[in-house]
């Protein structure tokens, strides 16, 4: 081997001024995924390595007084590599995690200002703008005085009730075009944020409806289902509530003409019936799902530490 070291070896040098490179691991799927019409997002995870990883480049170097020879020269050293993982966490989970809850208890607002605009919130979410918008709409998020919030179920219930009352007073049919701004202002007079009322209009808008203008138009089926789910989730206690009472309350919370639409089948999958006459909301809220996911991650971490501790013994 010693002779080869002298004859056939490739000189290896290390540049004094190393450049900045990053190594991004490319999973085999990524190529086909990148070619897909709607490429899914990937999360980037930085992985530290205890080894030295050099990026090398051929160079033609004369070291000392030697005749210049073809050399392999390390031009960068990477202490970490980047891995790509398909982002499988739904956008709504991210948005829920970063937004403070806007709650109204006994007429008093209970919310922590985050002094962050919608754009500022999106900047911290590792998803595309389109997905952020989707999650934002799903949690009925809204901006108020420079902060962003997501309403509690209890708040949604109260604001909906105010919307319904104002629409009734003004003779507005919610499933035909109406001036959303005007209705939101009436809701504001009741002490609720107008932007939240507008967020609800947009959340419940008929498909294809432009929600950016001052006009709104609610989808009747969507709205009936939303009101039913909101009412049920806002009910405290897990022992269950009488189905007949719940449906009656649901009907009372809808515009007169829609009363007949309040049927359990329109909120199917979102409730459990502990007995044949009682009903309770299923733990469908995404916030609970995220809470469940977090301890899971912690548990894995714990195991890793346990394993690490074992090897150290």
């Amino acid at each position: 081997m010693a002779t080869q070291q002298g004859e056939g070896g490739v000189p290896f040098a290390v540049a004094h001024e190393l450049q900045n490179f990053r190594l991004l691991e490319l999973p085999p799927e990524i190529v086909e995924l990148l070619e897909a019409p709607n490429p899914p997002p990937f999360q980037i995870r930085q992985v530290q390595t205890s080894n030295s990883v050099f990026v090398t480049q051929p160079a033609f170097d004369a070291h000392g007084n030697d005749i210049p020879t073809s050399t392999t020269c390390a031009i960068a050293s990477c202490t970490a590599t980047l891995e790509l993982h398909p982002a499988d966490t739904p956008a709504v989970a991210y948005i829920e995690a970063v937004l403070p809850v806007y709650d109204i208890v006994g007429g008093e607002v209970d919310a922590i200002q985050n002094d962050t605009s919608k754009g500022g919130v999106f900047a911290d979410v590792p998803l595309s703008s389109g997905q952020c918008e989707q999650g934002w709409a799903e949690v009925v998020a809204f901006e108020l005085s420079g902060s962003s919030y997501r309403p509690s179920v209890n708040t949604l219930r109260q604001v909906w009730s105010s919307i319904n009352a104002a629409a009734l007073a003004e003779g507005i049919r919610l499933d035909s075009q109406f001036l959303g701004y005007d209705l939101a202002e009436m809701v504001q007079e009741e002490g609720f944020p107008a932007p939240l009322a507008l967020a609800i209009f947009s959340h419940l808008a008929s498909a294809g409806q432009d929600t950016s203008g001052q006009w709104s138009c609610l989808d009747r089926r969507k709205t009936v289902s939303f009101v039913g789910k909101t009412l049920l989730q806002a009910k405290r206690g897990s022992s269950g509530h009488l189905v007949a009472d719940f449906v009656e309350e649901w009907k009372d919370s809808l515009p007169e003409a829609w009363r007949g639409d309040a049927a359990l089948k329109s909120i199917e999958g979102t409730y459990d019936t502990p007995t044949s006459t009682t009903i309770v909301a299923k733990g469908i809220s995404a916030s609970r799902a995220t809470e469940a996911a977090v301890p899971k991650a912690a548990a894995v971490k714990g195991k890793w530490h346990e394993r690490f501790a074992k090897t150290r013994k």
Binding site: Q5, F12, V14, E25, T49, V53, T56, Q57, H63, S70
Partner: protein, 155 residues
């Protein structure tokens, strides 16, 4: 989400770099970039006069293009890295299960134009580019072993 554009590798061939690349063809890439991973770190005294310091030599003892067929990959199993005069690391050439994209900050194109222009600041933000996609690496997973350096002295 703040968006940083990541540009794909430019397809400009760099045949000149390929010709002067001393590594076996399998390890050559269009840009000449290759990956070498080792356990630990290389330390050497700084030599200000040079832009780089030669720290050792890579030897592919089983690689012989005259004898081996092109698709013969047995030579990948053995690579030596002689560091200084008395240390040697044994390693191998590994095919990466997941290739690496080598990424760097993109130099703003037309830098001269910007400078020569009428002071109009062009701040396009940070951009990244994939310089190369590397499918193999030279890996030295073991610690160096001592070897005699007598022969080196005579070269």
């Amino acid at each position: 989400m703040p968006i940083i554009p990541l540009h794909p590798r430019s397809l400009a061939p760099a045949s000149a770099a390929s010709d002067s690349n001393p590594l076996p063809p399998l390890l050559r890439t269009p840009s000449g970039l290759a990956l070498l991973e080792l356990q630990g770190d290389i330390r050497f005294p700084p030599a200000a006069a040079q832009s780089s310091t030669q720290v050792g030599k890579l030897v592919f003892p089983l690689y012989n293009p005259d004898l081996n067929a092109e698709d013969d990959t047995k030579w990948m199993k053995r690579v030596y890295f002689y560091v200084g005069k008395n240390q040697r690391m044994a390693g191998e050439v590994k095919r990466l299960g997941k290739p690496f994209a080598v990424i760097r900050k993109r130099e703003t194109p037309n830098v001269e134009d910007v400078v020569m222009g009428d002071g109009e600041a062009v701040n396009a933000g940070e951009e990244l580019e994939i310089v190369e996609i590397v499918k193999y690496k030279i890996l030295f997973a073991m610690r160096p072993e001592p070897v005699g350096g007598g022969v080196e002295e005579t070269v």
